[in-house]
Symmetry: C2
Subunit: 158 residues, 2 copies
Amino acid sequence: MCDKAFQDHYPDLLSHCYGCGRLNEKGHRIRSFWDGEESVARFTPSPEHIAVPGFVYGGLLASLIDCHGTGTAAAAAYRAEGREMDTEPPHRFLTASLQVDYLKPTPLGPELELRGKVAEVKGRKVVVDITLQADGVICVKGRVIAAEVPDEMIPRIK
Amino acid sequence: MCDKAFQDHYPDLLSHCYGCGRLNEKGHRIRSFWDGEESVARFTPSPEHIAVPGFVYGGLLASLIDCHGTGTAAAAAYRAEGREMDTEPPHRFLTASLQVDYLKPTPLGPELELRGKVAEVKGRKVVVDITLQADGVICVKGRVIAAEVPDEMIPRIK
């Protein structure tokens, strides 16, 4: 793993996401890295991220999978082009479709580990399969179909 | 619509969810109601719930669909039994599987409206299809497969 996360390479204007934007002071600031062919992110939920007592609420888990998926999609797009994430032009993906299967209740307390595998890179679309585990047990599986941010959503620099 | 939301009927010990628990002071406190055969919930995201500037981040949208889905599932279970939500025993559902399709970017600012349709009620499983709209335009569609909270997840009253 290198020290700089995928999300650290997002342009400032696209770094405000509540899930993964380094410039969103109230957000989760998820950070994703390569670990060989897989991507990995770690996150420890706060006590308020509760579903029923003792377990993490599903909306947070969906959010972690979502943002780890789009981060992995961006990193995979650079890799597919054989260039580093600090080169231009930048890649930034949003989620077109999210599938989350809650296999077991996710305990609230331990650090969670997300691992992503790139299933497909095709033009402006990247598909990422993700597992989320707590204490070494896979609790949630997800699939993110990510698409490059459409030009009309990118804020203009004036 | 009546004044009491589906979530207001959850037992106190199951009312801490970050998405919809009335006892979670930091959470979203989503509230869902019947509107004829459909369920409806309304929620106005905060400025920090941003994806890229001007749009809502997908994790929140997934969370809203998730909790509106489980709330609708509980209400549908009572309806299927022909009894009111203030009767015993209580129903409380969790999400087994969540599918979210982001059809259009969801603008950040306007109140969002979620509408749920019960697709299936079968034993401990309920399937709910949900649309999320902003300014009258459907931006997101989702499907929640909800399952009754397993007994081992329910905190014991001592």
